[in-house]
Subunit: 347 residues, 2 copies
DNA sequence: TCCTCACGGGTCATTTTATATCCCGCTATT
DNA sequence: AATAGCGGGATATAAAATGACCCGTGAGGA
């Protein structure tokens, strides 16, 4: 009833003064961008936000007049007041954008237990990945129980998740393990590195998996027979919780110096999405499995809780292909991806 | 907590997009003015709202685009949607303007049991009197109990109250009596007429008091000895509820063709407010009692519930003078008067 | 019945506001 | 000491809000 009243106020404002919405979003975006880049100059900010320099300047002046920003020779920064305001604004944006209904809609249509949508679009504002990380981190912190085993994968998104998990006092006997080897890429986004960081932030312990990706099966087998490797792999196959990112095959191939042509050639179908080293076709079927250690689709389907994290309009197709494989339980996305997915569902 | 959330949303909007507030108010005022004057033309509307013709036009176009208005050859009118929206907007304006806190503040500072504030200023928009009437009417309807006797006075404000009391099924045995004779002025705003209309709308019965105001005491006495007159006067002296307007002495003198000079001469102090034929000085003391029938200040002070209704910035002083006499329990005013009163209290 | 007045809609010059793009002196970092 | 990037100032330009008309038309009063 009273809650209804809140929504009602919003509806009335949106109905009677709709021109304020873009302004509200603009100012929120500016504050958020400053939060993640402070101190930052006016020009850089304008470039990053794809706005005119003078426009940004007017807004900065406005926000400064309201004591949300302060500026010195290094650039503008958030004041204490501004810092306090941002989380509240985030909630309000969530309401204004109607993200709660969208979350419910997607959860129902996609048969997921939970959908979390973060306002914004990672394609347009790269700091949305931070927000995505924070949301995922908060979710992890809330959901993890004592003595759980958490498996995580690599990737830039997962790296952000790791960086943004709030430092918490440790749950008891929680163990974080990498979901695959993944020594083929930048150490910053390897699953090992990410597992370690998540463990550290959760106050949990961790095991590592020192097996390179993409090597031939013959070379792999002796490694697999190692009992320490075996143990970690078995742990990840029976994890209570798996958190993974979702990749766009073409982009991943580029990053890993793999040959996109050959991936396509060896695929049974056109791969449009990737998760834990498996490429999925648009219909959710497996297009290609890269030779790597770690759990396969059939293992993952048995897990209690699989959390997928991804952001950006461009990842919508990849996300859909993975979701159609029906092993994901919780989806944490940004608004950009969520809205594209909604459109696809409606068609 | 959730309520808090509502206020919080409003606060955040007001903080981050303050420029929308005047627009919101403007559009609300336009809708409200149309409601009371439909169908009305663009120019007339502009004149009444003291806005430019073109500005009003843009807003009308906007509201028409949103299906809140429709226009024909006679002028613009509210659509069904617009009619439904207005009460909700009224509530929202009440929140936006922070009138609830203001009501509490005034109630506490002025030692009143209840204060009701209607958005707007009757001096600027005469239709605010209608709103004031509606608010008073709603209050009356809610508060009146079976077998109550209600005494009412005359005046333009009270006439509006009468016109706007929602037609309700009758309470049992409610009786409405005029608080004074008042045959000296326009029949439309005589207390007799008003008593009759209020009674009709409440489904109550009424008695009338056919005694002219302002006549000499010698002429008055034989009338007072009439037992029907006596009965009505006694009823009003023991009423459960008295509703009265508040007048500005100078204005009233003008309307009644009385001599303002002589009123001043016979007054003990400078009269700044009037209620039921009694003129009050700024400190709340009685400045002059016009020769009339009906309850005096000392009678009224004994009543359980005295409701004062008044609107317009210009009436603030008059209201204060009456309130200082300390017999009013409930004050129903408009925002214009309320804000001036608040300022006076703070000084 | 006609007549007239106010209606909505169209137009356009004017003013006000927003925007884009420089320049400058400063300061913190290299 | 050099320099890159900062905030602040200035100005030409584009855009939008405004004010002031006219016009054909339909409703309501005579």
């Amino acid at each position: 009833m009273i809650e209804n009243n809140t929504d009602n106020s919003l509806l009335l404002f949106k109905l009677l003064v709709p021109e304020m919405l873009p302004v509200f979003q603009k100012r929120y975006t500016i504050l958020r961008t400053i939060k993640y880049n402070q101190p930052i100059g006016r020009r850089l900010l304008a470039e990053r936000l794809a706005l005119g320099e003078r426009g940004v300047r007017s807004e900065i002046d406005f926000l400064k007049d309201h004591n949300l920003l302060e500026s010195n020779a290094a650039g503008v920064s958030l004041t204490e007041e501004g810092k306090k305001l941002l989380p509240q604004l985030s909630l309000l944006i969530h309401k204004v954008e109607g993200l709660a209904p969208l979350e419910n809609y997607l959860a129902q249509k996609l048969d997921l237990t939970k959908v979390v949508i973060v306002p914004g679009d990672a394609d347009q504002n790269c700091e949305i990945l931070h927000e995505l990380g924070q949301a995922s981190g908060a979710f992890l912190r809330d959901v993890v129980q004592d003595q759980w085993v958490i498996a995580v994968t690599g990737g830039t998104t997962m790296a952000e998740v790791a960086h943004n998990i709030p430092q918490t006092v440790g749950k008891k006997d929680v163990l974080v393990v990498p979901g695959r080897g993944g020594l083929g890429e930048d150490v910053e986004i390897q699953s090992n590195t990410i597992a370690a960081e998540i463990a550290q932030r959760l106050g949990a312990s961790y095991r590592l998996l020192h097996v390179p990706d993409g090597i031939q099966n013959e070379t792999l087998e002796p490694l697999l027979s190692d009992h320490k490797v075996q143990e970690v792999i078995n742990l990840s196959k029976k994890a209570n919780l798996l958190v993974h990112g979702i990749g766009i095959p073409e982009v991943m191939a580029l990053r890993r110096d793999s040959d996109w042509q050959s991936i396509q050639r060896y695929s049974r179908k056109e791969p449009v999405g990737e998760a834990f080293g498996t490429y999925f076709a648009a219909d959710g079927s497996v297009a290609l499995v890269t030779p790597t250690v770690g759990p396969k689709v059939e293992d993952i389907a048995k897990l209690d809780m699989v959390v997928a994290v991804a952001g950006g309009k461009s990842k919508a197709d990849a996300i859909m292909s993975v979701l159609r494989a029906s092993f994901v339980d919780v989806l944490i996305v940004d608004q950009g991806a969520a809205e594209v997915i909604k459109k696809q569902i409606e068609e």
